[in-house]
């Protein structure tokens, strides 16, 4: 419910969040869906007047996002969105600060700002549009492109391994790690909603189809025939079940996950690994993150983990208050005339 304590109750609709700028992505681009889901979700999750929302981005197709949101917006330079957003948040902690970024923007040139924002737990919501390609520069491989991928800069196939984004976020101890897909609007809305409610750095990896330079990258996860067998929707408190007929599950054997067949009679729901998104143990996220890289395993979407700890901004302003309490409000005249002063007459 849009409910703003400071002023008066404000009710927004999705349309209130659409700016007057024409949307300029390629027809068919997955970015349209992400924009739509954000605009649909915002009336529900935004707990303050919309002038207190700021969208920050870097450079890339995805980074055009702020232009299309009728909020304050900053289209930054390549890779620096998390840092610019940090400055916005620290300048005015009352703002709700959102970052739109691409796999190149956030994980290639911007990788350092990303991991440091996570480490510091700055209260930012970071949406990474992962199309596993550089869209805006027309089709070079990205740090999330599969090894062996043929692109404009890798005509014989790339030789490096991709990042596993939730794993990287875990490495930086991000307090909220989630994943969704452009083509699953309801799920994506839920992730946006949950990120919006989280305090601290919230990271959502969104699989996004670039129909021009990497069409079908996520087809297995989005096409009707295949998606149920390839996507595992993580639900807090629920056993991990997937498959067209809900016939497969994940069991944990020590640290080792296994895919089990629920129809064989050998395993039942009670044997399955139950998802606990509040589990602070990083091992859970690490195991889930590796599913993608493990043949036979489904790709998890949903909230990998969510933990509550003081944010950087809270810490900063807490400290300012503490020092003020201890030393009194700053008095410039006193500071100027402090130290070893002497008089000349």
């Amino acid at each position: 419910m849009a409910n703003n304590v400071e002023v008066k109750e404000i009710k927004y609709t999705a349309k209130d969040f659409a700016s007057d700028q024409e949307v300029r992505w390629c027809p068919g681009c997955g970015d349209y869906s992400i924009l739509a889901q954000v605009q649909r979700t915002f009336p529900e999750i935004i707990d303050r007047p919309k002038e207190k929302i700021v969208w920050v981005s870097g450079i890339g197709c995805s980074s055009r996002f702020p232009y299309y949101m009728n909020t304050y917006g900053f289209h930054g330079i390549h890779g620096r969105a998390p840092a610019i957003a940090t400055g916005v948040k620290l300048a005015n902690p009352e703002l709700s600060v959102w970052v739109a970024s691409g796999d190149g923007d956030l994980l290639s040139i911007g990788g350092n700002h990303f991991i440091h924002a996570c480490r510091k737990n700055i209260d930012l919501k970071i949406l990474m549009f992962n199309n596993r390609i550089y869209g805006l520069t027309k089709g070079q491989y990205s740090p999330t492109s599969e090894k062996g991928k043929i692109t404009k800069t890798t005509p014989y196939g790339s030789v490096d391994y991709p990042f596993n984004p939730p794993m990287l976020a875990l490495g930086a101890e991000a307090s909220f790690i989630a994943r969704s897909i452009d083509r699953h609007p309801k799920h994506l809305q839920e992730m946006i909603r949950r990120a919006g409610l989280h305090k601290g750095t919230a990271f959502i990896e969104i699989f996004q189809n670039c129909n021009i330079f990497n069409d079908g990258a996520f087809a297995l996860l989005t096409e009707k025939d295949t998606k149920d067998d390839h996507v595992l929707e993580l639900v807090h408190g629920q056993p991990m079940i997937f498959g067209k007929n809900k016939d497969k599950g994940i069991k944990l054997d020590g640290l080792t996950p296994m895919v089990v067949d629920l129809t064989s009679g050998k395993y039942s729901k009670d044997d399955l690994w139950v998802h606990d998104e509040f589990d602070p143990n990083p091992a859970r996220t690490a195991i889930l993150a590796m599913f993608d890289e493990t043949p036979g395993f489904p790709t998890p979407i949903g909230i990998f983990r969510q933990i509550i700890k003081e944010t950087y901004d809270e810490g900063l302003f807490r400290q300012i208050e503490e020092v003020k309490k201890k030393k009194g409000e700053g008095d410039l005249e006193k500071i100027l005339f402090s130290g070893n002063v002497w008089e000349v007459n």
Binding site: S19, G76, V88, N92, N340, V341, V344
Partner: protein, 617 residues
């Protein structure tokens, strides 16, 4: 050291002392204490700390020598002195390294205990200079400082290592006696500093007093010296370094503008102290964000500026290089921002602890595209305070990033500063845009500044970024004519600032034979040199830039009023380049790039040479 009267207490007009010893010997502390006391006594003074890039180089080595020079006087002075009159050398390496710069016939006070074989070897002495006659012609005083300190501290509960470390207080006490200054300020400081460590208080105070008494009691020194207070303008003073003044200047700008201060910065020598000072002012609401790198330092500041803070970022040359792309973003988004560059020796990592003026061209034109940025430069340590306020004022009034250049010398050096009262400081008016009516993000006011409409302001939601903006509306625009217009407008906005800054002042005759033109931290050296040359009858004037982009409006007129122009710089002629291209006047360059302030005597020589030997007629 010019002696005025010949009696037991000799009066001097000015003295330059250099303390030198191992990095671990506390020379910076000794120098600072002597400076503080000397300031309190009322002398004018100027200091030059000089320490190695290594943190604690092994004891006794030449590269591990740390020095602190201070120049104090009963008259106005502007430099730390070309050559010391007095050298306090705590070990052979300190003597070896500093002797070449000591004035002929100068005074040397050595810790004779340290002149053992090991230390002589470490200093690459083949024989003991105290014995081999190589110091003939100097007034050498051998004081067994280590053992005298040890004796004095007998009974104090300190380890031998701690006792040894107290020897700098002995030396300080001795110098206080020799130059007739009170010890109480330092005693007080010791008590405050070591409040939690009574043994340290006891030991250091005893060492200090022992040094003082040693001068009094022994016959070693036959004379003491005194330097009368300088006739400074009436007021309250403190001694201040450039970095501290910079920090205070921005604190003042924050108070006078009513904007919270946000500093995004990454530590780098010699700029780190700025974030360190500002981090202590949390009770002013100052936010110091130690970023992951320089790029995050400036981009967090840009974000904070967008959201309405007074945003600054501090660094040195290599960091400025890293910030260039982001400065362009601030130019395009037309957001207020101050970038402080405390220049050091380059290129690359260069000489990280030394001074230089070689970032000027980088500041003026080191960006992709046409990205004009005002460039200011502080002239002296205390001037950093004024220029920090000026940089903030211009940034806010013109909605532009501003680069403020200081350098390692003025950043670390200090001088007495007549403290201004808060109500004497200029106001910095800020008008955030709040009315919806007629709001366009790139509509300009009379200064060509666009409105500052910060997030949180109802109904002014808008988007900015690094792509070219349409005039007035600020939407992304690829229109060719609009681009030309915006490139021109941005240039004009910065050029117009010339109407809002002080004219270039000429010290000395306002026209004539020779103008010595400088900028930034060489002010003192040039001033002293010009004064000396004038005292010798040479016709020469001085003008000094603190505003470089744009230049003051009367610059051309000033330049045209002199037959010759001499530009001394600690680089290969960067201001000279700008002057030549902007005003098409020929100039003489004097460039010495040694990581050190210019020497007054060298500039004097250059003045005389430029005048062709005759005194300007």
């Amino acid at each position: 050291m010019e002696t005025e009267k010949e009696k037991e207490l000799l009066q001097l007009k000015e003295v330059t002392i250099r303390f030198a010893g191992d990095s671990g010997d506390g020379m910076q502390l000794t120098g600072t204490q002597f400076s503080e006391t000397t300031a309190l006594v009322g002398n004018d003074l100027n200091t030059l700390p000089d320490y190695p890039a290594e943190i604690r180089a092994p004891a006794g080595t030449i590269y591990g020598v740390s020095g602190f020079q201070l120049h104090f006087s009963s008259e106005d002075i502007f430099t730390p002195g070309d050559q010391p009159d007095v050298l306090v050398a705590m070990n052979p390496a300190a003597l070896k390294k500093n002797l070449p710069e000591l004035k002929k016939g100068g005074m040397i006070i050595v810790n004779s205990d340290s002149f053992d074989i090991k230390n002589l070897n470490l200093a690459h002495y083949e024989s003991n200079p105290l014995e081999d006659g190589s110091l003939d012609g100097y007034q050498v005083y051998q004081v067994p400082i280590s053992s005298l300190t040890a004796n004095a501290l007998e009974g104090v509960k300190l380890s031998p290592k701690e006792v040894a470390r107290a020897k700098n207080f002995f030396a300080l006490g001795l110098m206080y006696w020799l130059f007739n200054r009170p010890i109480d300020k330092t005693v007080q400081w010791i008590h405050e500093k070591f409040a939690k460590n009574p043994e340290y208080i006891e030991g250091n105070e005893k060492a200090l007093r022992a040094g003082y008494n040693f001068g009094e009691m022994t016959e070693l020194f036959t004379a003491r010296y005194t330097v009368e207070p300088a006739k400074l303008p009436k007021g309250t003073y403190r001694s201040i370094s450039g970095n501290e003044a910079t920090a205070l200047g921005f604190l003042a700008a924050s108070v006078k503008s009513g904007l919270p201060l946000f500093l995004g910065s990454y530590p780098i020598t010699p700029a780190s102290e700025i974030i360190q000072y500002l981090s202590t002012y949390k009770n002013f609401g100052v936010k110091t964000f130690q970023a992951e790198d320089e790029i995050a330092g400036i981009t967090t500041a840009i974000g904070a500026s967008f959201a309405g803070n007074l945003a600054i970022t501090s660094t040195s040359g290599p960091g400025l290089a890293l910030k260039t792309e982001a400065i362009g973003l601030a130019v395009m988004t037309e957001l207020p921002l101050v970038i402080i560059d405390v220049q050091r020796g380059g290129p690359s990592t260069g000489l990280p602890t030394k001074t230089e003026q070689a970032d000027l061209l980088q500041a003026v034109c080191g960006r992709n595209g046409e990205a004009p940025v005002p460039v200011l430069a502080a002239a002296t340590p205390s001037d950093c305070f004024n220029m920090a306020i000026e940089a903030s004022r211009i940034a806010i009034k013109y909605m532009t990033p501003v680069i403020l250049l200081t350098d390692g010398y003025i950043a670390n050096g200090s001088e007495p500063w007549k403290i201004p009262h808060v109500n004497e400081l200029p106001e910095i008016p800020v008008k955030f845009r709040t009315e919806k009516e007629g709001f366009y993000p790139y509509l300009r006011d009379e200064n060509l500044a666009r409105p500052w409409a910060i997030p949180g302001t109802p109904e002014l939601e808008h988007r900015i970024g690094g792509l070219e903006k349409s005039d007035i509306y600020g939407n992304v625009s690829y229109d060719p004519d609009n681009h030309h217009k915006m490139v021109t407008l941005r240039a004009k906005k910065i050029k117009n600032i010339e109407n809002d800054i002080p004219l270039l002042e000429v010290e000395g005759e306002s026209s004539g034979e020779l103008l010595v033109l400088g900028w930034g931290g060489t002010y003192g050296a040039i001033k002293e040199a010009v004064n000396k040359a004038r005292a010798q009858g040479y016709k020469v004037s001085q003008a000094h830039f603190r505003y470089i982009n744009p230049f003051p409006k009367n610059t051309e007129q000033v330049l045209k009023s002199f037959k010759k122009i001499l530009i001394p710089e600690i680089n290969l002629g960067q201001l000279a380049k700008l002057i030549k291209s902007e005003f098409l006047v020929d100039v003489q360059q004097f460039n010495v790039v040694r990581g050190l302030p210019l020497r007054v005597a060298d500039i004097v020589d250059q003045i005389i040479k430029t005048l062709g030997g005759n005194n300007g007629k």
